[in-house]
Every structure is written in structure tokens, then in C-alpha cells.
Assembly symmetry: C2
Homo-oligomer: 341 residues x 2
């Protein structure tokens, strides 16, 4: 009963603290701290008593105080362009699953494909002193880079590849993807080649890889259309209409995402194009709907979740002081040939 009174009193003074628990359990605050963080250092009987008090009071340790004192927050921050655009959602799930199982929490920032917003987010995130940070892509403002390297925490860049990451990177070469797609189309052979794409750095790299592979073989047509990332179904449809209106002959098209490809496909379908003979379409991402379009979409498949999982593992190893984490971890990709190419 006396216990109960004290607990009740605490409620009025805000949440219970480690000192309250210590008093109720008849030990010192340090012992409570140990019971929570390093229980093997506490005698079983004492431990049990403390745990009982914690359960009874519903005590939840204050990680702000803990983090401040220990300089470890068990927080990992991740900045991705968007979460609504499918492409990064699974990466986040993979990341989160891995982090949670290691006792970490994910702090998410959405940059909207905007470098200066990435900078602001980085600042706001660093203010919370995460134990590590994950960024999407390898192109950042120089202020962002400076701030990041100055903060001296593990960094993982995801969804791209580079020989010189800020710290560690997990991804793949977008130029290689573009090149692979061009090769695939080349085997069949088309009169014209085109690319429909957004303007984010990675989509641009894929386009460049595509164009490079076709250099000297064919000119790659690029619809004149302002397509801001994330690009939409409509973008794809409009761009495809433009392409189809503009010229004759069979056409091989590489789209910067499956969503865009789906739009392009819809336009082609409406016009009765024969795929893949008159027209080939290759998307990117292998989204859920890709096998179910008409005809089913040929696309580039990447294990999006795996990027998250591997990024999490890398950063956790770094946090644990492992010096042997590879600077560049490559993720596989391949073409899933279905009905459109």
C-alpha cells in the first residue's frame, strides 16, 4: 500500500524515474540501471525484486537521458526520397526488420528527391545523435557531405554504387542496368530506340548507360517532357503517345520505372500495338503489378528488401566497431523477360 501511494504520487510528478524504482526496490539507482542494461551483473534475487517493481509501476526508462549519458541512442536514421512510391518501401521494411531485431529504432526522413531538403533533414537528424545514418544515393550537397563526415558516425549510402562512398554503400550500378536493357533490346533489334524517364540522378544514370550502349548503333529518342521524380503512370502514357506520333517503325523503349512503363503500356495497348514485335517496353523495379499487366511487363528486377537488410547489417557491424565492412556491397539485378520485350 505504501508502495502504491508512492507510485501514485509519481504519476502526478510525471513518469517514474529510475530513482523511484530504486527506492521502491530498496536498492540504488545504479543497480536498477544494471538490472535493465546488464542484468547478468545483478544478483538474481535483486534482479527479480527490481523487475517486479518495474512491472508493477509500468516504468519506461527515459532513453533521452540514457542516450545523453552513454552517447548511444540506439537510433538509426534513414533518408529516402519517398515512401509512397513502392520502390523504397520494401527497402525500409527490410531495414526496419533488421534494426528492430538488433534493438535499434528507425528514424525516417523523406527528402522528396530534393537535395536541399536532404540537407535540412540531415541537420535535424544529426541533432538527435543517431548511432548511424543511411542515405539514398551517392549525390549530396557538399554541405551535406561536410556535415556528415564531420559528425563521425557510420554512414551507409544505398541504391547506388560508387568506388568512393562517404563510408559504405549498398547498391548497384544504374549505368550497368541501362546497358543491360539496351543489350536485351538489341538482340531482338528494333528500328528505333527510346527512353522515358524521370530526372532523379539514378534514373539519369540508367538512361546514360542505355544511351552509351547504343552509341554508334542508334540514336536514342527522348520525349520532350518534364518528368519530375517520382514519375507517374500518366507521364508514361503521354510520353509513349508522343513517341508513337512522332515516327514510324518498330520501337524499343526503356522506362525509368514500372509505373511509367505501365502507363506507356496502356497507351500502346489502346493503340493496338503488337508487343513485343512492333513495340518493346522494359520497365524497372519489377513491382507487384508487373506480372499482371497486358501483356505482362518485362522489367529489371532488384531485391529491394535486400538492400535494406544489407544496409542495416553493415551499419550495425560498423557500430560494433567492425573495421572490415566492405566499402561497396553490390546487389544483383537481372531482366525478367515477360511479354513486352
Amino acid at each position: 500500500m505504501a508502495d502504491y501511494e508512492k507510485i501514485k504520487q509519481n504519476v502526478t510528478n510525471g513518469p517514474a524515474t529510475i530513482a523511484d524504482i530504486a527506492k521502491l526496490a530498496g536498492v540504488s539507482p545504479v543497480t536498477v540501471s544494471r538490472a535493465i542494461n546488464t542484468p547478468h551483473l545483478v544478483k538474481p534475487r535483486t534482479l527479480e525484486a527490481i523487475e517486479r517493481v518495474i512491472a508493477k509501476t509500468g516504468y519506461v526508462p527515459n532513453l533521452l537521458a540514457g542516450g545523453l549519458a552513454s552517447r548511444k541512442t540506439r537510433l538509426i536514421a534513414a533518408i529516402v526520397p519517398s515512401v509512397a512510391s513502392t520502390i523504397f518501401a520494401e527497402t525500409i521494411e527490410g531495414l526496419n526488420a533488421e534494426l528492430v531485431s538488433a534493438g535499434y529504432q528507425l528514424l525516417l526522413g523523406l527528402s522528396g528527391y530534393d537535395a536541399s531538403r536532404e540537407l535540412e533533414l540531415t541537420r535535424a537528424i544529426l541533432a538527435r545523435r543517431p548511432d548511424g545514418i543511411i542515405l539514398t544515393g551517392i549525390t549530396h550537397l557538399k554541405e551535406t557531405r561536410a556535415m556528415l563526415t564531420g559528425a563521425g558516425l557510420p554512414i551507409v549510402e544505398i541504391w547506388d554504387s560508387t568506388p568512393s562512398p562517404l563510408d559504405t554503400a549498398v547498391g548497384f550500378s544504374h549505368a550497368a542496368v541501362g546497358s543491360l536493357v539496351a543489350g536485351h533490346l538489341l538482340i531482338r533489334g528494333y528500328d528505333r530506340y527510346a527512353q522515358i524517364g524521370a530526372n532523379d540522378p539514378r534514373a539519369v544514370q540508367r538512361r546514360d548507360g542505355f544511351v552509351d550502349r547504343l552509341k554508334g548503333i542508334a540514336e536514342v529518342e527522348l520525349p520532350e517532357l518534364e518528368m519530375n521524380s517520382p514519375s507517374t503512370f500518366r507521364d508514361g502514357r503521354v510520353a509513349m503517345a508522343q513517341l508513337l506520333d512522332k515516327g514510324e517503325g518498330s520501337l524499343g523503349v526503356f522506362c525509368s520505372s514500372d509505373v511509367v512503363a505501365h502507363g506507356a503500356l496502356a497507351e500502346a495497348h489502346a493503340r493496338g500495338c503488337k508487343m513485343p514485335d512492333d513495340l518493346a517496353i522494359i520497365g524497372f523495379g519489377d513491382f507487384d503489378f508487373a506480372p499482371h499487366t497486358h501483356p505482362p511487363l518485362t522489367t529489371v528486377r532488384i531485391d529491394r528488401r535486400d538492400i535494406g537488410t544489407k544496409a542495416a547489417r553493415s551499419i550495425l557491424r560498423k557500430i560494433d566497431g567492425d573495421e572490415n565492412v566492405e566499402a561497396m556491397i553490390n546487389i544483383d539485378f537481372h531482366i525478367v523477360a515477360r511479354g513486352t520485350a
Copy 2:
């Protein structure tokens, strides 16, 4: 140069602190704190000097320390079942946009439709002392409820409606959705009615609303299929096959999500069903692809982003001490009639 030395020295002692900035700017730490948080209380000349030092050193305030001292973290936590399943992604984007513009940050938890994981997440989140918390749905373990109400912070439950929220709720009645859909099918009139659905609380409510509306008119068939949330394209396809194999006559089907409906649609399409005469399919969510299926999918539309926006506004108002926040904020929904019903 002396400045530079001191800064450099700091780097070796970990990141600069407010005391370092104060020393370099020739003021006391309190003044630096004010320059950052309440600049109008600082004389312009002093302010400028401090800002110059901050810029030069790249100082980033430690929000752990700040939060500990002020008992305000400028953190809002949100627990959603998943981020990969489209349905909540836009809600998160809306939430995030609104929070960021108010100077708050979003801490995301993924429960995977699992109540006990929700409890663990709640504990972990509360340990960071967020200024508010957002939960998906209105069914929680009683330990979760107890912990939440004991923490004494603003709570918003989203994606469902209830006369008695924990604190505030933003959503709609899933039973009403089910009923609306049944009404829509009833006007056309089918020989058989069925529901294909996942087992999460909200999908179940939609089913019950659907069944209730048809009570006394028709028996609702429910495919015998274990469908765990989030349900998949494949679930829908298999369930539809079962339904089609099992009986004769025209069929009206309500699916628990557009993804499931898409799968059901694929099966129906493959069998050459005439829609919407022989078979009607109504989905839920109005996902991006819904207008582009064959035939285009009839579905229930909800402004998913708006739920996030309104939830953020509610919680921010609560934090600001506004007592007049409505306990239940209703979100509109309606049927988008396209080709499948």
C-alpha cells in the same frame, strides 16, 4: 586562428557543445540557447555574432540534452502495420509533410498487423518520450492501452472510427464501407454474393458491414482461405477461383483491398467472365493501378493522405494545449464506379 584551434580541439572531444559556441562568441551558454530557440530575445548584434560562430563550426545542437531539459522532444511517433502495402504509405507522407513543416520529426514503427508487436513498439517509442503518438486502428492490447494512457501524451488513432477513442481518432467506419458496397451491388442484383478478405480488424469490419446489409436478402459466401494481412494478388486469384468453381449464377464480390481485387480480376479475366453482368468486383483503396486494370476496377476511394494530414494537425493542436480538438474526425469515402461493378 585561436578560434580555429579551439574548434579543432573540440572535434577530438566529440561534437561541439553549446558551451564551446558560447566561449567562441564571447557570451554565456544561456544566450546561445536563446539565440537558437528564441532569437527575438537576443540583441541583433549578439545574435549575429553567435550565428556566425555556429555557421563556422557547423554546430548542431544536441536534442537529447534539449529534450531532457525541456521535456519536449519535437518527436511524433506513428505506428502503422506496414509501409510496403501502399495503403498506409500516403498517410505517412501526409503525416510527415505536416509534421516537418511544424518543426517536428516522425519516428516510424511497423507493427506488421501484430498486436503484441504493437505493444513492444509502444514501449520502445515511449522510451524516447515523443510529444505525441499515432496508432493505426482502435483495437489494442489492454497493456498497450494502459501504457499509453499512463504516459499522458496526446494520442491519435487513425484509419478507423469509434465513439470512444483513447484520445482522438481520425478515420471512418469500415462497417459503413461494407454496407455501402453491398448497397451498390444490390441495385444491380446478383444471384450470389461473396467477400474475399484478409483477417485484420478493419477488413473484418468491412466484411461484417457487408454481410449485415445483405442479411435476409442473401447469404454471403466466404472462401475458405487463410488470408493474413496484408493479403496478396495471389490470395485474390485463388479465392476467386474457388468461388467460381463452387457455384453457378451471377456473382457480386467485395474484396478487402484493391490488390486482392486485382488478383480476383485476373482470374475472372482468364476465365472470360463478363463484367459487370456475370461478375462484379469491388475493391478497396483506389490504388494507382485501379483505373488501369482490364476492365478498370470499381473500388472504394478514401483520401489516404488526408488521414495523415488531419492526424498531424490534431496532434499538433493537442500539443499546443488546444482543448477543443474533436474526439472523432470523420474522413469521407465513396465508390468510384468503373468497369467491374
